[in-house]
Symmetry: C2
Subunit: 250 residues, 2 copies
């Protein structure tokens, strides 16, 4: 197992090779074995393989990234209170899960299931890539995948047999992200020391040059994850969470 | 690997046996290898082992559950924009991550890291249990663990060598949570069929009797996850997300 975890690289190029039902079911069984709140399983997994649907998702939701279309399987992990609410109502008891806590809880549980699916997939020789775009285009995903009220797309994973062998990406040292006993805040010297290795990698130096920026940090703040985009996407995201029925705090 | 995933059970009783630094570091290295948005690593992991701190967390945050004190290690996975923001500012570029999208993204990434840690731990013979209470008592956790602005506790995992061998808990059938191509909504008959096996388990029938309820669903809506509690916790959670600096959508 630890091999699947320790050797993880995201795969964005896939062979034109389908995933057998047996293999996919093993991945999905792995997903649903995951820990979840109260064993209520407040999530659903939409398995999309049809070309026309993948093309729609690619163009309208995932910034036209080719991997959405090329991967044989696209998994959309959703926070799902719809199934549970229906079960409660059918048992003549009124569910109280139309609020932010339930949404956040279900989002966490959907994500735990997603990561189980990813590790199960990787240990079977498949490659995976998470798509952050899901959080930018929730309204479109909801429309294309017919998600009803009380259901929300949390994250998307593309799945397939790897057609590339990328090198492992860098990570900050453990000491940068781990805190002993309580959180130990960082002074300027800490930050400089913890990011020095990253900033001095040739790959990133070249990236700074290509982007015409003064620093690596600036690529994130100005090119990739700008305040302007974040603010716009935040509004869409919060509006849609409300629209799907998760903001009744009364 | 798939063994660690497929045999998962939550462990709530632990041997009085510490976890070596080497083993713990392997678990944490597993956590940080996880996929994350833009490789920005918007999370931190607080490793708490001191008895006095664990007792405080147990009593003030985690509903007095003994496992928090008895487990040798408590891991609090946090959404962390503080480190990244400081890095940006030190590089004279203004971060724009004080919004809900960044909070939600970081929450997902912290959760993916948490599940990697759990599987790494389980494959090393450790047992784990997630604590949902983290989302009910964020203000207290923030206080006890000294979490600064731009940092938020997402989930907590207790870790230790198992001193119990619980049986695997039930799950709904795959067909209950998996949707082909797009979401297929459930009719009453679907819900009845999908929950029948669960409702007919002796364990749950006994639980309904003990609780004096009419159905299993009612235990969730009335005893365990009531609307009243959910609404109160939702307000606390949203207030605290704002207080920690993640709700500036202007």
């Amino acid at each position: 197992m630890n091999n699947a975890i320790l050797n993880h690289v995201s795969i964005r190029k896939f062979k034109n090779e389908p995933i057998s039902k047996e293999t996919l079911d093993t991945v999905l069984e792995g997903a649903i074995r995951a820990s979840n709140t109260g064993n209520m399983q407040w999530y659903s997994i939409v398995v999309t393989t049809e070309l026309a649907l993948k093309q729609k998702l690619r163009k309208e939701c995932h910034f036209n990234q080719a991997m959405i279309e090329e991967a044989p399987v696209v998994l959309t992990f959703c926070a799902d209170l719809n199934r549970f609410n229906k079960w409660c109502k059918l048992n003549n008891t009124e569910p109280g899960y139309d609020n932010f806590l339930s949404f956040y809880t279900a989002s966490i549980d959907a994500t735990i299931a997603a990561q189980n699916a990813c590790i199960a997939a990787e240990s079977l020789g498949l490659g995976i890539c998470y798509l952050g775009t899901t959080n930018y285009t929730a309204p479109k995903i909801i429309e294309i995948l017919n998600l009803p009220k009380d259901v929300f797309p949390v994250t998307t994973v593309v799945l397939g047999y790897p057609d590339e062998t990328p090198t492992k990406t860098d990570r900050l040292l453990l000491e940068a992200v781990v805190h002993d006993e309580v959180y130990c805040d960082y002074c300027d010297e800490d930050i400089e020391a913890l990011y020095a290795e990253k900033e001095n990698m040739e790959f990133y130096k070249e990236l700074v040059k290509i982007n015409g920026t003064n620093s690596l940090a600036q690529i994130f703040t100005e090119k990739r994850y700008s305040k302007q985009n974040n603010v716009a996407f935040s509004k869409t995201l919060l509006d849609e969470i409300k629209k799907q029925g998760f903001m009744n705090q009364e």
